[in-house]
């Protein structure tokens, strides 16, 4: 029963990881650009939710639509104004551009907020649900539910809306999409905006779980990469599966072996998957 508690806690955390990584997968799947500023965008989302909470008293979950919209606009503007010029350029130039954006974001956050860790005081921060022998952290459950709803909303967008279908067409066949008259530049900007919105939503939910400070961004960029590579770069269900796997691996290895080795086991899993299935568990060969 103890192990069941651990696995469920891992899955709940993994759901939020999955939403975070989903944005990275969406961007790469369509635009074929690897967003090395992904963790930084999540931290921007966290700070946005923090500011709203501190100034208006609004819970980060309630602030989620606002933060998501804000990050969408930021991502859209970034893609339209800057990243679009690098799509046809060599990959190392794309890498340098996004690394520069990441550095600027971190430095700006450091200047604006300082290095101190900040958190939002929540009335339910110490609550937990008891379901028989299971003890579930209320905050973690809320974050996971939010993450799952976010994923469902994104899935619905891609499946049911005209723009979503147009974006999938771009991803499948860019030339064909242009031939039928789709505005590729606008669709790329919408996609990047969606990726940023995803990670902004993940930031709001992550603020429920951890304190925010500028220096955590790099860790989460790395984590997002591990998850999408595990699941398959460009695969939405793969991002979720990767998130769940990392969440559970960290939880189980930390409990059963040694908490200091949590990350080591996640990386070991990544190496194993790369050896056996280099395209990721649900990626296309």
């Amino acid at each position: 029963m103890l192990y069941l508690n651990i696995i469920i806690a891992g899955l709940l955390t993994g759901a939020v990881y999955g939403l975070m990584a989903l944005g990275l997968s969406v961007i790469f799947g369509v635009i074929r650009i690897v967003n090395f500023a992904h963790g930084e965008m999540m931290v921007v989302g966290m700070y946005a939710a923090y500011l709203i909470a501190v100034n208006t008293g609004l819970d980060p979950v309630a602030a989620l639509p606002l933060v998501t919209a804000g990050l969408f606009l930021l991502g859209y503007a970034l893609q339209r104004g800057l990243i679009n010029r690098y799509i046809a350029r060599p990959e190392h130039e794309q890498f340098l551009l996004l690394l520069a954006i990441a550095t600027i974001i971190t430095a700006s956050l450091l200047m604006g907020f300082g290095p101190d860790a900040r958190s939002v005081p929540l009335d339910y921060a110490y609550d937990s649900f008891q379901l028989g022998p299971l003890l579930l952290d209320k905050v973690r459950v809320l974050a996971a539910v939010g993450a799952v709803l976010g994923v469902v909303a994104l899935w619905g967008f891609f499946r049911l809306t005209r723009t979503g279908k147009a974006i999938r067409a771009c991803a499948d066949n860019q030339v064909g999409a242009q031939v039928v008259g789709l505005d590729i530049k606008r669709l790329y900007a919408v996609t990047f905006g969606l990726g940023a919105a995803c990670v902004g939503a993940a930031g709001c939910l992550m603020l429920l779980l951890i304190d925010v400070q500028p220096y955590i961004a790099t860790d989460y960029t790395l984590l997002a990469f591990i998850i999408v590579i595990l699941g398959g770069l460009g695969s939405m269900p793969g991002a979720l599966l990767g998130g769940a796997l990392v969440g559970v691996t960290e939880a189980l290895s930390g409990f059963a072996v040694d908490p200091s080795l949590k990350s080591a086991f996640s990386f070991a899993l990544l190496i194993l998957v790369l050896l056996v299935r280099p395209q990721g568990l649900l990626g296309r060969a």
């Binding site: 806690a9 290095p115 937990s128 952290d137 955590i216 930390g254 908490p259």
Partner: protein, 408 residues
């Protein structure tokens, strides 16, 4: 032909001799009047920023309080960014900028780096806080530490456990030890493991759990600790992790007889008390603390409270203040800013009017002050309060402590 000394030459000779004899006085007086430049190194950013900035507040109080007592100094502040490599370069920079003496740096890893720089450059270094025993075992001539080593912290801190059990009549049989996995945590762990058999403590450590000092989530570690079903929860923490750990303990309804630190930061600090509120109550830390009976401690605490009414004047504040005091005192007695004179003055330090509990500040042949006992400090009514030893206690200790749901 023999040269005969005339009266004029004799007079000039006497005047010259007199000048040579008397000169060190005025020269010393000039040098003593010349303020000493103290290079202060603290982790004011990075993961130790909260504690580093807390120490910095004490430096600011020292800048105002000590000159009124006749000390002449100027402090050059530097930020180690919570990284040993930055601590090293900042120490070198301070020396280039003319610092005559260095003080710092709270963290053992960073302190070690600075000690090496100080020794290589022949600049005295007074350690305010930094407990790795190895720092004063290197044979350094220029390094002086006014803080207990982890062995001293462990010995003095663990001894207080027996005092607690005796005072309350409650004796645990088992303990789980959670410790931060950095230089400080590792040296505390070594100290605890070495001392446990020697101190006849009534409990056995059934599980030891190490965690990353920069961890953002300690849910797994706390789950593992809870699964050990030990009577008491022993911790060696820093500040952010102490907050994370306690939150998880509340969420997971993990209620040991008490949470006790044998000597580490975190649970007595302002931010811990502010963020956790009622859940911070009853946590016990066995650490050196300010001596409420010392007049100087009262003066310092009053000045600190005036400058920072919302902050707690704690062990970090006390030792940081004493670090500056030691530098200024050495300069005053040496009458010089030269390194050799300062080192001799530091060796002869004997400060009776001090802030922290214990005898006079003095250093042994290794540069270590050994007069640093620990008090039992329990969070009560939102304030760290001395509960042991009984002769210094402000309140009686509470142990076992009330469960989370029974806190007011």
């Amino acid at each position: 032909m023999k040269h005969r000394l005339n009266r004029r030459q004799f007079g000039l000779g006497v005047a010259a001799t007199g000048a040579i004899v008397v000169a060190p006085g005025p020269i010393r007086a000039v040098q003593a009047a010349t303020p000493i430049k103290i290079g202060s190194l603290l982790p004011r950013s990075g993961y130790e920023a909260l504690i580093g900035q807390g120490c910095q507040r004490s430096v600011e109080v020292a800048k105002k309080l000590l000159p009124d007592m006749g000390y002449a100094f100027e402090i050059i502040d530097a930020d180690t960014e919570s990284k040993p490599e930055v601590a090293r370069t900042q120490a070198e920079k301070l020396i280039r900028e003319g610092a005559n003496i260095l003080v710092g740096a709270f963290d053992s890893g960073q302190t070690f780096a600075i000690a090496q720089v100080a020794e290589q450059n022949g600049v005295p270094f007074v350690i305010n806080i930094g407990s790795d025993p190895a720092i004063t075992e290197q044979g350094y001539k220029f390094v002086f530490r006014n803080f207990p080593t982890s062995i001293m912290l462990g010995t003095n801190g663990l001894s207080r456990f027996n005092d607690l059990f005796k005072a309350t009549g409650a004796t645990p049989k088992t303990a789980v030890l959670m410790h931060v996995n950095d230089t400080f945590g590792q040296s505390m762990l070594k100290g605890i493991n070495a001392l446990m058999p020697k101190l006849n403590l009534p409990f056995e450590i059934v599980e030891t759990i190490a965690y990353d000092p920069q961890a953002k989530d300690l849910s797994i570690e706390v789950a593992k600790a809870k699964a050990a079903k030990a009577d008491i929860h022993m911790v060696v923490t820093r500040l952010n992790d102490a907050i994370l750990m306690t939150r998880e303990m509340v969420k997971q309804r993990y209620e040991p007889m008490g949470v006790i630190s044998p000597g580490s930061p975190g649970m007595y600090q302002t931010q811990f008390l502010k963020v956790l509120g009622k859940y911070a109550e009853y946590a016990i830390t066995n650490v050196p603390w300010l001596d409420p009976r010392q007049q100087f401690a009262q003066t310092f605490e009053a000045a600190f409270k005036k400058a920072y009414p919302d902050e707690i004047c704690d062990i970090d504040a006390g030792f940081t203040f004493e670090g500056i005091l030691i530098c200024a005192d050495a300069h005053k007695r040496a009458g010089s800013t030269k390194a050799e004179a300062l080192v001799e003055a530091l060796k002869a330090t004997n400060i009776k009017d001090r802030v922290m509990l214990g005898g006079a500040i003095a250093f042994n042949e290794k540069g270590q002050n050994v007069n640093l006992p620990s008090a039992g400090v329990q969070n009560r009514n939102g304030k760290p309060t001395v509960v042991l030893p009984a002769e210094n206690a402000e309140l009686k200790p509470v142990f076992p402590v009330p469960g989370w749901s029974r806190r007011g």
